[in-house]
Symmetry: C2
Subunit: 134 residues, 2 copies
């Protein structure tokens, strides 16, 4: 019996939990081959830059180091032919980073992508939920 | 200038490639919190079991070791209250593993989920494609 040791189906915890599946289900990624060009992590970081006005504050808000944040944003920028971020000349506050109109358009399109996918997925997730719960 | 070193926007290669974005874009994952219950890797493996009739053949087809394949299928099974795989008693061919009706339903639902998400995403991806290409 090749799969003889596979765990017994877990009847208990999952049933209670099926109703909570939907909100987490779709976090779109735009891929090119195996490379993720645009995904939920980079988008959250870009949104944090827009909110906080600097990469360092956005990194703190996302619980990551500055170098990691900078590297992710740099990756994201490389996919776009126009700047998605702009740096402010350092005045009394030492400059900062804002997003451009193209960066804001990216955030808006990603939100729309997420909403569209979630709406389309909902009826199918109901079916999968019934499979998990029966 | 906090982000002064960010790479220049990459105007060349991406433009040619925008048209290829869509087919790869949506690979749905069903999450519960941070845990991925159902994702494209496990589904591909389950489909390979259905095609090849054994976990070991499915593992080979997916380019992974038997232990890794078994572990992924075991994780997937733990989310379901009914068996998604069944083992055959070992006759001359040494037994094997087939998928159950519930396993087949999972594959069908996942296909439907993928189709639904891709259809919903298409018009938004056109917008993102224009952002990548302009």
């Amino acid at each position: 019996m090749e799969a003889g040791g596979l765990s017994d189906p877990g009847r208990g915890a999952i049933r209670a939990v099926t109703a909570r599946l939907r909100p987490e289900v779709i976090r779109p990624r735009v891929r090119l081959g195996e490379q993720v060009l645009i995904g939920p992590g980079k988008i959250a970081l870009l949104r944090a830059v827009a909110e906080h006005g600097s990469i360092s504050a956005a990194a703190r808000a996302q619980g990551m180091g500055y170098k990691r944040a900078w590297s992710l944003l740099d990756e994201l920028q490389r996919s776009f032919p126009v700047p998605i971020l702009q740096t402010a000349a350092g005045g009394s506050k030492g400059g900062g980073t804002a997003i451009t109109a193209a960066g804001q358009a990216l955030l808006d399109h990603y939100d729309e992508l997420e909403r569209a996918c979630r709406a389309a997925a909902a009826p199918v997730l109901d079916k999968i939920g019934r499979l998990l719960a029966r």
